[in-house]
Symmetry: C2
DNA sequence: TGACTTGTGTACCGGAGAGTACAATAGGTT
DNA sequence: AACCTATTGTACTCTCCGGTACACAAGTCA
């Protein structure tokens, strides 16, 4: 037990609440009072536990990657390139249309276009999205070596295509498209899969 | 010539500047001082000419639809469904990657996720995006009657698929993807086109 | 029992946000 | 000329933002 007065709230649970708010309202759209209300704590507790707003957002982002967006890592473990893509699409759709979840993806709508104050957050999200494309490309290159992806496929393009569809689905979800609608779009997208 | 002191600036040019700022920074990320600076006018002139921030945004949105996003209407006039889709993708890519233009699409990144104050703007963008999907669906249904689209195609799904790809391209563009990269993604997306 | 350390709650700070009052100005109208 | 009307620039309002000072509470350690 550490010294001093014990914290009166569960720090991970509070972080989950903060993540949910950022996810729903975006970085700029989220105010500190909105966060403290959702987290059930007071302002100074927030700052003591998580630093400032930007630092809290980054922590929420890590938690998002490890939790709700964990399907990405899982999908990469699928045996074939095609299964990876299918699982990625299915996971994204499930995440974005699960009742109670904000509609869309934190990494996309957290800060797509924003003012100067939030620009470093925007850049962070840009590079996180790029990292996913990179991982996907690597996975597809492995698939090529494994022989389950044709040798004349451009893995970078294919990775970017899959990412593009997922990001597009995010926008559709933000407009309240149903799970079934999104799944049909994903099925159609897979028809472009290289022979 | 109307009565009173004449306006010292061109109202359409000022609106163009405002549109560009909203396009680059999003609705929430744009402040009035940022707008007045770009428009070259003072605060009260802005309010006198355009109402409040929300009203200015809506006017900028209309101007966007008539100007930079005019390629949508043009694309719908193409002779075949496939040509419509191809033109739509090409137009979007050109718009989003033209040097000097903000990277992305105002209708997507203007307010994807936001606080309560901007929610009516978010809804406006949602319904504008939905309207485009509707138009596209209608166009595809006409194509079916024209015989250039197979009878067993679901036009609603196809329209949503094309919109999804475009919105995904928007996110890619916001991450500084090049025109060539986006075009290759678009080409790949068209491989899903129904036979 | 103290001293010590850390979290909590209230109340505050400086600054920036959107929106406006008002006097001065620049034109047309009579 | 005098008058009327609409725009302009300065300076202001009020509210909310992110962030913090400070006194107090709740624990551990000697």
């Amino acid at each position: 037990m550490p010294l001093g007065r014990p914290r009166s709230f569960d720090i991970d649970e509070a972080l989950d609440r903060a993540m949910e708010v950022f996810w729903r309202l975006g970085y700029e759209g989220t105010s500190i009072p909105e966060l403290t209300k959702a987290m059930g704590i007071n302002r100074p507790s927030l700052y003591a536990a998580f630093g400032n707003k930007e630092s809290l957002f980054r922590k929420a982002l890590d938690r998002y990657a490890a939790g709700p967006a964990g399907y990405v890592r899982e999908a990469l473990d699928r045996p074939t390139a095609r299964a990876v893509a299918e699982q990625l699409l299915a996971g994204a759709i499930e995440l974005m249309t699960t009742p109670g979840n904000p509609k869309g993806c934190l990494v996309v709508q957290g800060a797509l276009a924003c003012g100067e104050a939030a620009d470093s957050i925007r850049q962070e999200l840009v590079s996180r999205r790029a990292a996913i494309v990179d991982n996907l490309q690597s996975r597809f290159e492995r698939a090529k070596r494994d022989g389950d992806l044709s040798a004349d496929v451009d893995c970078a393009d294919l990775a970017r295509y899959v990412a593009t569809v997922i990001h597009g689905l995010t926008v559709q979800a933000a407009g309240s498209a149903s799970r079934e609608q999104l799944q049909r779009v994903a099925d159609m997208a897979m028809r472009a899969w290289p022979a």
